[in-house]
């Protein structure tokens, strides 16, 4: 099977998850469930996120207001559908995590007067990372590839996604552990970086097929 066929296969998997095959009652039921789950999160002073799988949108919200929204270019999935309830971001994993700078206390006043700008900024955030959510759910985030090397990287990802991830799912199922993987491709690198910034460990959120 060629890569393109695999891609078509996973797209159809996602379509199986999405709304068109469902009746109006299921949509209404899901919207009701989302509202029920969201009101619990919105009553707390914490920020929370919602991943809308069908609408291809990730929203960062507080008190029911959208603070920031990211458009998703494509979504693929393997494994069980995420539970329709609040999930916690256990950790973020990336190849090159951003490192904080350690400030060296000034030795004297002259030293203190010299100013060095060495901050952790948005540009230092990774655009390609994995969000490990509670319940064995992992969301792989990557930007749309632009240029030769990113495309090569995405080709590698495609092979891993279509061959390695199903094997991983099999191994988890044999050990009776929950597993679900969602691959999210964002339009811009900056969107991935902003998403990494906006979602601190421990943040709660919802993943809904709406």
């Amino acid at each position: 099977m060629r890569g393109r066929d695999f891609r078509a296969l996973t797209v159809s998997c996602v379509l199986a998850l999405s709304l068109p095959v469902w009746g109006v009652d299921q949509t209404a039921s899901l919207q009701n469930r989302l509202a029920q789950e969201e009101i619990v999160l919105a009553k707390t002073p914490s920020l929370y996120f919602i991943v809308y799988l069908k609408s291809r949108v990730i929203a960062l919200r507080s008190r029911g207001m959208t603070l920031q929204e990211w458009k998703v270019q494509s979504i693929h999935a393997w494994g069980e559908a995420p539970p329709l309830g609040a999930l916690t971001l256990a950790k973020k994993s990336t190849l090159f995590p951003p490192k904080r700078t350690k400030i060296k206390p000034a030795a004297n006043e002259e030293d203190a007067a010299t100013f060095e700008l060495d901050a952790l900024e948005l540009k230092d955030m990774p655009a390609r990372f994995t969000l490990f959510l509670s319940g064995g759910i992992r969301i792989l985030v990557r930007p749309k590839a632009r240029g030769f090397f990113p495309r090569l990287g995405n080709f590698g990802h495609l092979i891993a996604w279509n061959l390695w991830v199903p094997l991983k799912n099999l191994s988890f199922r044999l050990r009776k552990k929950p597993f679900a993987a969602i691959d999210i491709k964002l339009e811009k690198k900056e969107d991935g970086q902003a998403l990494y910034w906006a979602l601190p460990d421990g943040v709660k959120g919802l993943v809904f097929p709406l």
């Binding site: 998997c13 507080s62 904080r100 906006a198």
Partner: protein, 214 residues
């Protein structure tokens, strides 16, 4: 010749096994719907559907009511922007400076500070005109100075700009002497705002005004 044949057959068997395992893995990994959400999971009649939709609308209304009714502040610490808004409109957008994310360790001590701007929902707890900065311990450590024993020795005027809005735990929205650094993440966790924008924010916000930082 026989050995070659055996190797070839072994390889073919291995490949076949791998293909079968992969096929099984793909079938097993085929996405499944969440429990209770699939087609046929709930077949509800028109009356029940209308009731469900009404319940959803009511929940949405309740969620909507959780948002502030008056003016509120939204701070994007990644892009270093501050937005003053109401539910309906944006009143002001300003370039600010948020926390640098740097770490300071007390030499030989046990204390460590991480200079992040906190995230979440906060509210304006104090308002001050011509505020005086009460320098915390980390400011002296960073400057290589000894931590004073008297509180009066911690007072510094003029560095916080014309106004300050406190939102708890020593964090403030205040002015800056370094307006050229607005838009960069350079602070110790406070939110620095340019003079003109700060005045507008100070005038619009009152004690209890909600602040959302992400």
């Amino acid at each position: 010749m026989n050995k070659k044949k055996t190797v070839r057959i072994s390889l073919l068997v291995l490949v076949a096994v791998l293909v079968v395992v992969e096929a099984v893995a793909i079938i097993m990994a085929w996405p499944r719907q969440a429990a209770g959400a699939g087609p046929g999971a709930e077949n509800i009649d028109q009356k029940a559907l209308a009731k469900l939709e009404a319940e959803t609308a009511s929940l949405r209304k309740k969620i909507g009511a959780l948002a502030p009714r008056t003016v509120f502040i939204v701070i994007d610490s990644a892009r270093n922007t501050l937005t003053l808004k109401t539910r309906k409109e944006v009143q002001l957008q300003a370039v600010v400076s948020c926390g640098s994310g740097s770490i300071l360790e007390e030499p030989g001590g046990k204390r460590t500070w991480i200079f992040d701007t906190p995230r979440g929902e906060f509210q304006v707890k104090s308002k001050a005109v011509d505020p005086t900065w009460v320098k915390p311990d980390w400011a002296f450590i960073e400057e290589g100075k000894e931590i004073p024993k008297k509180r009066e020795e911690r007072f510094e005027d003029g560095v916080l700009g014309d106004y300050a809005l406190g939102f708890g735990d020593g964090y403030f929205i205040h002015g800056t002497l370094y307006s050229r650094l607005l838009g960069r993440s350079v602070t110790h966790g406070c939110v620095r705002v340019g003079d003109k924008d700060l005045k507008a924010v100070y005038q619009a916000a009152s004690i209890g005004t909600k602040i959302y930082i992400y």
